[in-house]
Amino acid sequence: MKVLCAIVVAASLLVVGAAQANTVKLSVNGMVCAFCAQGIEKRLSKMPENGPLYINLKQKVVAIQAKPGKTIDVDKVKAEITEAGYDVVQVQTVPQTVAAIRAEMKAKK
């Protein structure tokens, strides 16, 4: 019984952890060309707390997921995107992983 309870609790923690993926989703103006927007990817990939990254030009989305145990520095991410030459118009913290956002965007095509 105790073992069963421990398994249920552990499984619940895993579900909650996945649902609370630390991901920031930004809406960025001016991203129309991959060659031009690759500066965003280069800059954000250098930040030590940043994990998986997704860029969608048509939907004008940049999504960054934090590495385990880390937190995204939103102000720094916005500054890096601005330094790359683009304008951040909206920022959201979302529970999805970057992989889930990518799948969702592909499904919308």
Binding site: C33, L57, Y86
Partner: protein, 222 residues
Amino acid sequence: MVRRRLIGLGLALALGLCSGGALALPMGSKGEGMVMLDTSPDQRELAANFAVSTVDAWGVAVGRWSEPLHGVAAHERSREFVAATYTRRVQRWNLPHAQANVWLVGMVGQVRGQGLNSQRSLGSLAVMADYETTRVYVGAGLRPMRASGVRHDSTWLRGGFSFYEAEYDEVQPWFVLEAKRVNFGGSAKNEVTPMLRFIHKRVFVEIGGNRDGAQFNLMWSP
């Protein structure tokens, strides 16, 4: 990282190509380098620059062009130049589904060639503008290059469209048409060149051809 950059630069040089066609993006973002190469039947140019800020880049360019001699059919003379360059992004508009830019590119250097008894100081101040979405591109520019007894003034207009939307990490193919006029002082040349453009994250390639021959433009960001 350094090795990758050196290999890339070596590849670019080995291709022996030169560019004036870095029209879509004459500089990278702050802290980035850019190598630009073009070749066409009568002009070759190789340029590299480094963005020291979000709007300024310094670099160098070397090039060679052929121009028709006065009144002598099928005769040409060549010019070679080397120059320091400065690129300034004068204005950018980041719109919800488009981007527009105005650029200035200054060049100061030396030119030599047939008919010139010595090297001469060369200057240029180009102005370029572009507007693009993920499906449409329009660009125009004017680049006068002058030295004592030397004139190479280029004016161009480009327009194109992408065949389909592509994901950020996929290659996106485009069709681009360029109309260009080069004024050498006593003569001028007009060209219309259709091109295929392929854009990937780190590489931008254009392949085209007109009645004079093939044209190849390459931009690479290390």
